[in-house]
């Protein structure tokens, strides 16, 4: 399905808009999940089952007084949350949510994703530094160290997929997984999946790897000095990361929008219907990961910093390397044999 420029624009707006919505409700979702796990009720006052809670929160944050520390570096202090949000958002541009429904497909899509993720760290780092507070600074340093460390393992995990797919285009990665669930990358690359998944926690600053903002040690970490709307932006960026990470996981390992055996039972169906089903499928899979993220957050305790680094460098990185080597070796043998 080819979309014209106008269609493209509409699609872009649609995708980012719904992403916005999803992020807002991810917060609500998180609170609900947390409540369930702790045997509470969770937000249920605003709207039906508290469904309007996110909007209330946003409204509240917008109305709060904006405080900027006097010693802060103003410009960067202002820019930092923006960088965070934007970097989180533009990753999504590469992700196809249904066949043909994507903002862009470039032949180095995977690299693009890696690049954007790696730049994402600037938001956090600069926020911490510009606040000119030691808690913030420590938080941002932890963030930069942690992100650089886990990016490597993440990249290595992706290399496995690229090797299998023989392409860096995200669309072709999804295509190559077909509608057969047994050909999805989670089956082909279980170790890679594990690594990527764990690294996602670190990249998204989620528990058990939320050291950059660990309340008990650093008050609020890099966003200690932020308030009002800017704080909301960080908050927003964090949940965007969550959604984006889940989407990427879905795309790379869970066949993306692919509906199991759709070629069998959906053969010849209306393509708009198929697209709709695919979008639903994608959202479903994504929500699964979102739920997993939350589950983990409310279950596991926080890592110690040195354990975090050890895990990254001593286990994930070698594991990733082994994964790449095994995958490449397997491909070589497969090539020669068949």
């Amino acid at each position: 399905m080819k979309l014209e420029l106008f269609g493209h624009l509409v699609l872009t707006v649609c995708i980012f808009g719904s992403l916005f919505l999803f992020v807002a409700y991810a917060v609500y979702f998180e609170r609900k999940v947390a409540a369930k796990m702790q045997n509470r009720v969770g937000p249920d006052r605003v709207g039906w089952y508290g469904l309007l809670q996110p909007f209330a929160d946003i409204l509240k944050l917008l109305l709060k007084e904006e405080i900027i520390a006097t010693q802060a570096t103003k410009l960067i202090h202002t820019l930092a949350p923006g960088i965070s949000v934007i970097m989180a958002f533009i990753t999504f541009a590469m992700i196809p949510i249904a066949q043909g429904f994507y903002i862009a497909d470039i032949n180095i899509g995977m690299l693009y994703m890696m690049a954007v993720t790696s730049i994402g760290v600037y938001g956090v780092t600069l926020a911490g530094w510009s606040s000119n507070s030691k808690y913030s600074l420590l938080g941002s340093m932890r963030a930069s160290a942690q992100m650089i460390s886990y990016e490597l393992s993440m990249g290595l995990a992706v290399v496995g997929i690229i090797l299998i797919t023989q392409s860096m285009s995200v669309v072709s990665i999804v295509d190559s997984q077909t509608d057969n669930p047994f050909l999805w990358n989670i089956i082909k690359q279980p170790i890679g999946f594990l690594i990527f998944w764990i690294a996602s926690f670190a990249e998204a600053n989620r528990l058990p790897f939320d050291l950059p903002e660990s309340e008990q040690e650093l008050v609020g970490g890099f966003h200690t000095e932020y308030s009002s709307m800017r704080f909301a932006l960080f908050f927003f960026a964090e949940y965007t990361h969550l959604i984006v990470a889940s989407s990427i996981l879905t795309t790379l390992y869970l066949g993306g929008y692919q509906i199991p055996y759709s070629s069998v039972w959906l053969a010849g169906a209306n393509e708009w219907l198929v697209a709709g089903l695919q979008i639903l499928m994608f959202i479903l899979k994504m929500c699964l990961f979102v739920f997993l993220f939350m589950w983990v957050r409310w279950t596991l305790p926080r890592f110690k910093y040195n354990h975090l680094m050890e895990l990254g460098w001593k286990y994930l990185l070698p594991l990733g390397l082994i994964n790449v080597v095994v995958t490449a070796g397997w491909l070589l043998i497969y090539d020669k044999l068949f």
Partner: protein
């Protein structure tokens, strides 16, 4: 046309950010300007159809190297430096003069012969798909496999060296 304008704007931004790097008061300003500069360069790479390099530029320079710089600047909590024109003394004037001379000499060779009319190299075959991942990958693992593999020695020794030097405890 649009490309031309885009190019000149990018070039301008690159120059301005470059100037900021060397005049910025705080190391962080310099670092951020440098990141901006790298983005500009990456953009020019894209214009030159070197997509792979453009993205690598972002990943390696902006995503890794500069983050490391920032990390160290924060770790050491470096104080503000003097800017170029604050306390502008003879030494700095001399430095500007010398750099100007250097640039002048490069400009002089431009006046001698233009780059784009520089004679074609021996391997002048037309090759439109130059900057793609595929072609880079192909050459990297055929003609350039030896330097490519040997680059790993540089990285390895850098890792060892950095660890040895920056390690705090002696055991």
């Amino acid at each position: 046309m649009i490309v031309d304008i885009l190019f000149y704007i990018t070039a301008l931004v690159a120059i301005i950010s470059g100037l900021l790097v060397i005049t910025g008061k705080s190391p962080v300003t310099s670092a951020l300007s440098l990141v901006l500069n790298f983005f500009c360069i990456a953009f020019i790479y894209l214009m030159l159809e070197a997509q792979f390099l453009a993205i690598i530029q972002v990943i390696v320079y902006a995503g890794a190297i500069m983050v490391l710089f920032l990390f160290v600047i924060m770790l050491l909590n470096l104080q503000d430096d003097m800017t170029l024109f604050e306390r502008f003394d003879l030494k700095k004037g001399f430095a500007v003069l010398l750099t100007g001379l250097f640039l002048l000499e490069i400009a002089y060779i431009f006046s001698l012969d233009s780059v784009s009319v520089a004679p074609k190299g021996v391997t002048g075959a037309s090759f439109p798909e130059l900057g793609t991942v595929e072609s880079i990958g192909k050459y990297l693992f055929s003609d350039f496999v030896y330097p490519f593999e040997m680059i790993s020695v540089v990285l390895l020794s850098a890792v060892v060296g950095a660890v040895v030097i920056a390690k705090k405890k002696v055991d």
